[in-house]
Amino acid sequence: MATKFSLAELMAVASSRQIQDGEIAFIGTGLPMLGAMLAKALHAPNAILIYEAGIVDARPKRTPVSIGDGCLVPGAAMCCGLTEALGTILQRGWVDVGFLGAAQINKYGDINTSVIGDYYHPKVRLPGSGGGNDIGSLAKRTVIMMAQDKRKFVEQVDYITTPGWLGPPGTREAAGLPRGGPAKVITNLGIYAFDENREIYLESHHPGISIEKIKQNVSWEIAISPDVRETEPPTDEELHLLREQFDPQGIFLGGRE
């Protein structure tokens, strides 16, 4: 149990624990790719993994580099296209949990992956929605994975690429979104959930990360759970699988912020 681990490894493991056995999970690029493999290998063997480019119920043997990686195909139950995966599976309401990345987030879990700064003259032009807006709009719940600092946890995001709760209870529904909303936010500092007012609060802080440090990395006064605890560290088995089998080249674990 005393094995040392990186925060990227902890995030990958935390994402894996968000997938329950038997759930239908929509997997995006990045650490959730590792998390999904880990979940399938350990506690959620009956989870159904869906990759956006059109791979349904994949049993990946190698960690995919993209959501359309051909290594996902051998052993998959169905191959189709983006339209079918996003339309007939996600929009139709089959997906239990979807994963999202974010460059900025506000307290309602609305996220920005499009621009930092003015939309037409940004400081940084980011990749944009991809399937993010669809997943955030249409999965039954979402898990957001991101690096955290004061410029990323902001009162107002520069652009709402993907709706979270959008405001107090009723706001998301009033926009016409049929279901869903963010359930968890996993950062390099802690794990967050949303309260009955749809506002984010700290649920657990990662080992070695103080609550004080977390407060310093949110640009508003972050709510802290009365039951706040330390994030459960990765097990030796999880670390072994991550390092030896799923990302031996360090594609996801090596280069993370």
Partner: protein, 313 residues
């Protein structure tokens, strides 16, 4: 543009295909999500120095980045513009943030938004209602489309839906595993948005790993995504999707993708890249020779054969 119907004239070199079908200013669709990117045709389009292209897809990666960096694409219409696990796309950033080599405009939707728009165009209807985009800034900001989306209440139930306009495409590139001489195109593995994206187009230019006997296609018609009459030109381009995969033919070349992500950090690096890997080789054949047989052999896919099925009745 007139559809070319003469069957015997469909097979041509990538040079001829781009000369014939890709003219300045058109709406051109790239292909492949995560694999089967039509790089043989994209690199040739750059070599022929086309201008003012509106380049269209849902998930752009190196395909959109290289077309922007080379000054070919001045507008992008799509949903994602990055290098996936390899980080941000540098040409795209330089163009949008600093106008290098030129200022580009981006009309962005989500992945589903784009593919629903392709589907509408492919079906000949003017728009598609979707349940994403609602409540987001995707519909608040627009770039070059006069009307990007329209929020309405379903006249039957009163439920809010977002209407997205059909996505017209002049020419679609597709990288496919195979087709026959007539242009009946077969793909397997993830389809991405190629099926609807190609069917949305006025003209489809397909690059294939190989041309097979029509009997082979007709013994397995479920695998066909485009019937011959939708296809205008066929380019035989083995490894044409490199550095991306083609299911059953070759794996991705991760080293190449890492190299691209690294050298494009600077404009000078990218210009060198264009010289080394696009202009210099002169053709797809030249590009393959530069990569070398050993490298290509190492990427070759391992066999993972499906069992034949009985199509009898």
């Amino acid at each position: 543009m007139h559809r070319i119907r003469k069957v015997s004239s469909k097979i041509m070199s990538e040079r001829e295909a781009v000369e014939t079908f890709v003219v300045d200013g058109i709406r051109l669709r790239s292909g492949g999500i995560g694999l089967r990117k039509p790089f043989a045709l994209i690199n040739e389009t750059i070599r022929q120095r086309r201008k003012n292209i509106t380049f269209i897809l849902s998930g752009f990666t190196e395909d959109g980045d290289v077309m922007v960096g080379a000054g070919v694409a001045s507008q992008l219409e799509g949903s994602y513009f990055g290098l996936e696990a390899l980080g941000l796309a540098h040409n795209y950033r330089r163009a949008y943030e600093q106008g290098i080599p030129l200022k580009i405009k981006i009309e962005e939707y989500s992945n589903y938004g784009m593919t629903a728009r392709f589907m509408a165009a492919a079906m000949g209807v003017p728009f598609m209602p979707v349940k994403s985009h609602l409540g987001s800034d995707l519909v608040r900001y627009h770039a070059f489309r006069e009307k990007k989306a329209h929020l309405m209440e379903d006249p039957f139930s009163g439920e809010k839906v977002m209407l997205l306009p059909a996505c017209p495409v002049d020419v679609a590139f597709v990288h496919a595993q195979r087709c026959d001489e007539d242009g009946n195109v077969q793909i397997w593995g993830p389809i991405g948005d190629d099926e609807w994206g190609a069917r949305a187009a006025q003209q489809v230019v397909v690059e294939v790993e190989e041309i097979v006997d029509s009997e082979i296609v007709r013994r397995d018609p479920n695998r066909t995504i485009l019937p011959s009459f939708m296809v205008s030109a066929i380019v035989i381009a083995p490894y044409g999707s490199h550095p991306y995969q083609c299911q059953g033919y070759y794996d991705l070349d991760l080293e190449y993708r890492k190299m691209y992500a690294e050298v494009t950090r600077t404009r000078e690096g990218f210009e060198r890249y264009l010289e080394d890997w696009v202009y210099g080789p002169g053709s797809h054949q030249g590009y393959l020779e530069k990569l070398g047989k050993d490298r290509l052999d190492r990427l070759r896919a391992k066999p993972y054969m499906s069992d034949p099925v009985n199509y009898g009745y």
